[in-house]
Symmetry: C2
DNA sequence: CTGCCACAGTAAAACGTTTATCTGATGGCG
DNA sequence: CGCCATCAGATAAACGTTTTACTGTGGCAG
């Protein structure tokens, strides 16, 4: 039951293996009659080209690696899904790996990914620090970094969202509605994009002489909900919460539900990311919408260009993440009363 | 700028390539001193083993393919994520492919996956029909089919949920609360697991002389919400809705929110699957909880056993999907009034 | 001292492709 | 009619690794 190789097809079709190869790739003329026969035989035998052998010979292969922190986080899942679609449309296959927000595992997955000698790599690093392996590959392999970029002058293309503006806009909205007690629900405050969002919020608050509080909820919903509840119990609850990721949005909401705090009557909420569940509620969430499709599109274009040999200066794409105003932010009670 | 190969390492370390290979694999004794030197040189040079070459030579490779309909559907994303973790723990790499619920694309992705000559495959078919390629591979490749199994006597291991019981339990719950007008929100009624769930519901209803209605919402949330809204407008709204997937749960909820129907005051809802967003609400959802971790675990164990050469009869694992009673189902108004 | 075995390491073949180079055959054209 | 170009197809080398079979070199028992 040995696997069927090109040799078997050649024998069965009564031609040489070179002819079979050419018949499939079409890079040398083969008579239509022979092509037909080869294809028929291949189908009958259930022949499948061995990609490993093919790529070993050619050196190149239409495969790109994609490394993200997690597939359970809808943001990354959507990103991967979009990238996969774009890649497939261009005839590329995608190798997905997840780091689980763990630097060690990230390094291991990266090694595994690179072992396939892909023609490019799109990665969302799990910390601000770029893994050594990755840094070394930057010299030779087309790479696009997305979302979590901790440094400024990287020698590769990067695609990020304007986190500062997003934070600023979210805070502005809350402030305009009259909120003065604002709590920032961060995942990990040290992460560059999160830090940027926080900076945007803080700056907006500064002009209104408001000092937001910050609570770190981590990257797990359950854990985050517990921490949020603890924070609420300890410090009393603010009039508005601005969540920094979809996971913290969920964590905050879970805590509110557990404690019985109503949104938006008792606390206003600005969420992050924009998913179906956010609008599938009596009070749809106002949230900062990250343009996932655009992010994927940009990242893919950059990578394509690099793979095609572009020697342009590394691009640093910054996309807008506009606020979607819906119904989860309203004036706080004090203001309502005064009005 | 040619890639670094084992040859470069061998030259630099002053040994033969065979020795380098053995130093890494450890399958032949190499003096500790040489091992150390080889490892050091490899690190210094940034050597990465070419998996393609390796697998070409050995024929086998610790890689398994995973094929799911979509990564945007949290059910599948979680499944893939769990499988990845299990595989990694056993030293396997996972190749992920998505079919997008499209039979043609499924076939293409399957071909691509098999081109890597993985040592096993875990697949969630996108229709009841098993693709030809897959059927043919069943004879030789370790395969585990999950979730969407359209046929009975497959020659491979399968892992499914007891969909009939799940449907029955959900319906029972609604009936006990006094509901008589029940609407089933199906994705695609023809899909085997969905059909089973519907059958479970219908049978439970039968004993209460209730005839549930059915609406098909598809696999996309937006589209589904529109169809649900249309159904509500056309036929009036039932007292209880039982959703058949997490996507239809979301679609139903979206429609309710748009039309302004309150859950559970105006309509009760039994959801499907169990995700964070379902409990992050004022009224947490009662839902059928699919044991994703167990599904992944079972599928992986089966595959491991097959890869290890087990010749057992094909197993047909059926897992329980118990109902999580929370707050989205309560007595319908008529009954409340009568009480 | 001789034969034998264990040990450390090497040479070379093989995996399934692709592709550069080669071979005949056919036909066009001067 | 001879020559060259064109074409379909074949041969064989190469890709980077693993692994089998081999070569020396010591050590040790007889």
């Amino acid at each position: 039951m040995a696997a069927i190789t090109i040799r078997d097809v050649a024998a069965e079709a009564g031609v040489s293996i070179a002819t079979v190869s050419n018949a499939f790739s079409g890079r040398k003329a083969v008579s239509p009659e022979v092509v037909r026969r080869v294809e028929e035989v291949a189908r009958a035998l259930g022949y499948q080209k061995n990609i490993a052998a093919s790529q070993l010979r050619t050196g190149r292969v239409k495969v790109v690696g994609v490394l993200v922190p997690s597939l359970v986080d809808t943001f990354f899942a959507s990103l991967v899904s979009d990238l996969e679609e774009l890649a497939e449309a261009d005839g590329y296959q995608v190798l997905v790996a997840t780091s689980g927000d763990n630097a060690e595992r990230e390094a291991a997955q990266l090694d595994a990914l690179l072992g396939w000698k892909p023609s490019g790599l799109i990665a969302v690093p799990c910390t601000n620090a770029i893994p050594d392996t990755l840094r070394r590959e930057m010299a030779t392999l087309p790479i696009v970094l997305v979302d979590r970029i901790g440094e400024e002058d990287l020698p590769v293309d990067t695609v990020v969202v304007d986190n500062h503006a997003a934070g600023h806009e979210a805070a502005q909205h809350a402030l305009e509605m009259g909120h003065r007690e604002i709590l920032i629900a961060a995942s990990v405050a040290g992460l560059r994009p999160i830090a940027e969002r926080i900076r945007g919020i803080t700056e907006a608050c500064l002009s209104a002489t408001v000092t937001p509080r910050i609570v770190e909820l981590g990257t797990d919903v359950e854990e985050g909900a517990a921490r949020m509840a603890a924070c609420l119990a300890r410090d009393g609850h603010p009039t508005a919460v601005i969540a920094m990721t979809n996971v913290t949005t969920l964590a905050a909401l879970t805590a509110f539900a557990q404690v019985g705090i109503d949104v938006p009557a008792e606390v206003s909420l600005v969420g992050f990311d924009d998913y179906a569940w956010m609008t599938a509620r009596r009070v749809p969430l106002s949230a900062v919408r990250q343009p996932i499709a655009d992010i994927a599109q940009s990242a893919w274009s950059c990578l394509r260009a690099r793979i095609a040999g572009s020697g342009d200066q590394p691009a640093r794409l910054v996309l807008d993440a506009p606020l979607q105003c819906r119904s989860s932010v309203c004036a706080p009670r004090a203001v309502q009363g005064a009005a």
